[in-house]
């Protein structure tokens, strides 16, 4: 080798070595504070692309959380996710006969095309979500009629007394759009959405990025502080993390749990877990033997070492779940504790069942989800200790949903989140046979659950409602149709330049409050 080439080779080796050493990273987290500053473009990278910005159409969070920034709803979830606050409606009242709700609209609110927001727009918007083909039509199906006695007054008549209406009106699918889509067809409107929210739609390059900009005419003149927000689609979590490290983006949505420790060590970035309504569970098909036997379900519940799973898979970020309603909701029953990991008690429960010596079964997990695959192996190991032989079966996500809907599975993991701050939706969805998916595909049927849910939604008094929800949670804890495993937080890593970023319990970003340090 000639001297010049040796030099080049040496420099190359030195550079690569330095780069490798440098990748260890150092430093710590840090926050910036001070006086809020206006301006700047915030770039947030997310794993998935939004499907549609027409409020009544999508069900994916990627679309929902943008919709919440460009449209207003009558009410809005509070930051803690426990109640609702005024938004386009300044006040609301239930009638004396409890069969209607009157909402008074804010004066001076306008759409981004300059038109005022009126009760006629509200009526039109809710009607769109009442269409039977709309995924969230079940939320508004309780409304029988809408009256618009004045431009700033809308009256919702309900089939029966219905307490969750103020919370229902904070649902993204009930976002207010201009009547008749401002003279456009739904397809045209979807391409150029018009709302009255703090941000307005700017552009959307499918598969790449979606940009929203500050709405200077928003009724709340204090917000937003940012000039614009760009949502980019970055499916790979490693790439999102490296983009944050290189300063290309400011917020990385849902970093992998396994990467949180490394991300925390990155200079100029912080990682925060925000309270979310997500509950992770292990579902059992109660319509199949031997899961129709409560002793079998109890045995499984006691044989699973949730602490170990939380440590190994969620890196300690989850909170061990007791009651099936998340602590984010006011209806959460904090007296219910998770059954302790106790193999002796699990064996004793199994001994009382129809299969005292154990059995062979399957646990279906979505392919491509490494966290759930690891979780399944830990469950497999635990259950093996009490004589339950588990085979792990992988199905791709769409096929797994179909299998669950058809009841064609033994055990499977799942998660649920609430879309409204009232407990009604999730209490039914997860606990009731008639709640939409047969108690999260467990086919658990207990008429007491339906009766209690009906009482809870009709009663105006919060204490009476709470008592009913407490009892529902006790029934699920006793009957164990599924095993709540963890209350999972919403995790974000973001630049230390990002201030006041606090996603709410239902997932809303509340970007209007966010500002960037210069």
């Amino acid at each position: 080798m000639r001297p010049r080439k040796i030099m080049v080779a040496a420099v190359t080796v030195a550079t690569v070595t330095a780069t490798l050493v440098g990748c260890g990273g150092s430093g710590g987290t840090g926050g910036s504070s001070g006086k809020p500053q206006a301006g700047g473009d915030l770039v947030m990278a997310r794993a998935d692309e939004a499907t549609s910005l027409l409020p009544s159409v999508p069900t994916d969070n990627s679309a929902i959380w943008i919709i919440e920034e460009i449209y207003d709803t009558l009410t809005v979830p509070s930051q803690d996710g426990e109640t609702v606050e005024p938004s386009l409606a300044t006040s609301w009242k239930q009638s004396k006969d409890k069969l209607s709700w009157t909402f008074t609209l804010r004066k001076g609110a306008t759409f981004t095309n300059g038109d005022p927001v009126t009760s006629a727009d509200v009526k039109f918007s809710i009607e769109q979500n009442q269409d039977p083909s709309a995924p969230f039509s079940f939320i508004d199906s309780i409304i029988t009629k809408m009256d618009t006695p004045a431009d700033n007054t809308i009256v919702f008549h309900t089939k029966k007394p219905w307490s969750p209406i103020p919370a229902d009106m904070a649902l993204y699918a009930n976002s207010i759009v201009p009547k008749d889509y401002g003279g456009m067809s739904a397809e045209e409107f979807a391409k150029k959405p018009i709302g009255s929210g703090p941000f307005k739609f700017e552009s959307w390059t499918r598969g790449s990025s979606l940009k929203i900009v500050k709405n200077p005419d928003h009724w709340n003149k204090e917000v937003p502080l940012l000039d614009s927000v760009t949502f980019t689609v970055v499916p790979d979590s490693n790439t999102r993390a490296t983009q944050l490290a290189s300063g290309q983006i400011q917020i990385n949505e849902y970093p992998a749990y396994s990467s949180v420790k490394t991300l925390k060590n990155q200079p100029n970035a912080k990682v925060t877990a925000f309270p979310s309504s997500e509950v992770d569970y292990l579902g059992m098909n109660n319509s199949r033997k031997p899961f129709d036997d409560v002793n079998v379900r109890k045995a499984i519940s006691q044989a699973i070492d949730k602490e170990a799973i939380n440590k190994a898979v969620l890196y300690g970020h989850g909170k061990i779940a007791g009651a099936y309603l998340s602590p984010v909701t006011w209806a959460h029953n904090d007296e219910i504790e998770a059954p302790a990991y106790d193999l002796a008690a699990a064996r004793a429960a199994l001994a009382e069942s129809k299969v005292p010596d154990g059995f062979t079964t399957t646990l279906t997990v979505p392919s491509g989800d490494q966290d759930l695959a690891s979780q399944a192996q830990l469950v497999q190991d635990s259950l093996g200790k009490i004589g339950i032989k588990v085979t792990i079966k992988k199905l791709d996500p769409a096929a797994l949903v179909t299998a669950k809907k058809a009841g064609n599975y033994d055990m499977a993991f799942g998660l649920y989140t609430t879309d409204i701050v009232d407990p009604d939706e999730i209490a039914r969805f997860a606990g009731s046979y008639t709640g939409g998916v047969h108690a999260v595909y467990t086919w658990f049927k207990d008429p007491r659950m339906d009766k209690l849910a009906a009482t809870a939604s009709s009663e105006p008094k919060q204490s009476t409602r709470k008592a009913a929800y407490d009892e529902m949670q006790e029934i699920v804890a006793d009957e164990v149709p599924f095993i709540p495993l963890f209350y999972a937080p919403g995790t974000y890593s973001y630049s230390t330049k990002v201030n006041e970023f606090h996603p709410g319990g239902t997932g809303n970003y509340f970007l209007k409050n966010v500002w960037l340090s210069k």
Binding site: T51, A245, S246
Partner: protein, 311 residues
């Protein structure tokens, strides 16, 4: 040549029909309902049924197949169930990105392979050959997503020469953003290309026409350019042409890793969401791409090697 071309184009029709039919059957046989997936778990059965009807999924399989074939013949790719947009409009945005990526990958692969192969061929058992062998073994063993992630880490974050993924606005910025993903794909076919080119070059170097050229007093550079590379290039073009499938499937992984909004990432989204129309359309376009490249390879081959007759 005209007759040859027409015959090849006619032969492409059953190939494309086969691709369309196989992708249709496979997608529809796979479990998973696009309407249920699109509407989410909380949608009522009525909502799912209404959407299935709207999308024509409540028709029998032969009816759906027949209507799909009719659409294809009319040049209509249909609407994406997941993106709720016309597939043609999605393709207009995505196809150029993937084509640019594939072309850039092929160019980078050639730029890396030709010098490596010629240095290694000129010095059969020397240190360069050993180094190239080692490089080939390492690169061939490393999965594409790993190579991509490493490139992002070093060239995107540490040295910050290229963006760490993403597809910005502006032609120059976009070309720059495509370098790392194209390099990742290129590296996946470099070992094969180097081996093929090297073997062809060694053969050429030992041939009589090269000895004759040398005896005429031509310089090494001139011999290499005029005789060795030209003859070895024929083999290179063939390998590159055959590798177009690998380039396209490389795009599938690399577009996910680098967040490039091309056909590959769209196809992945389509598969995961059981977006029948989208997957079928992407498969069709990839199928057409392979057919066209094979055709182009044959044409270039004939141009480089007068012995190959197009008949």
């Amino acid at each position: 040549m005209g007759r040859w071309l027409i015959r090849r184009l006619l032969l492409a029709i059953p190939v494309v029909w086969g691709v369309v039919t196989i992708s249709f059957v496979l997608m529809h046989l796979a479990p998973g309902d696009p309407a249920a997936t699109a509407l989410g778990e909380k949608a009522s059965p009525e909502a799912v049924a209404a959407l299935r009807h709207l999308w024509g999924l409540d028709q029998s399989l032969p009816e759906q197949y027949w209507s799909y074939l009719g659409q294809i013949v009319r040049g209509d790719l249909g609407d994406s169930l997941y993106f709720r947009a016309s597939i043609t409009s999605l393709m207009v945005q995505r196809l150029p990105v993937t084509l640019a990526l594939i072309v850039m990958s092929a160019v980078i692969a050639s730029l890396i392979s030709v010098p490596l192969a010629s240095r290694s061929a000129a010095n059969v058992n020397g240190p360069v050959t050993q180094a190239v062998r080692m490089f080939n073994a390492v690169i061939q063993g490393a999965p594409t997503f790993f190579v991509g992630s490493m490139l992002i880490l070093f060239l995107g974050v540490r040295i910050a020469l290229f963006p760490a993924g993403g597809y910005p606005d502006g032609v120059v910025q976009r070309a720059w953003a495509l370098v790392l993903p194209a390099l990742t794909i290129a590296l996946s076919i470099v070992p094969l290309l180097v081996r093929g080119l090297r073997a062809a070059m060694i053969e050429a170097l030992g041939s009589e026409y090269v000895s004759f050229a040398r005896s005429k007093g031509l310089s090494d550079t001139a011999v290499n350019r005029r005789y060795v590379l030209r003859n070895a290039g024929i083999s290179g073009v063939s390998i590159l042409g055959i590798q177009v499938g690998a380039l396209a499937s490389g795009a599938l992984v690399v577009e996910q890793v680098f967040a490039i909004p091309g056909m590959g990432s769209m196809l992945m989204t389509g598969i995961l969401n059981r977006d029948y129309a989208l997957v079928q359309a992407c498969t069709l376009v990839f199928g057409l791409l392979v057919v066209v490249v094979y055709l182009a390879t044959d044409l270039v081959y004939a141009r480089l090697d007068p012995r190959a007759r197009l008949s």
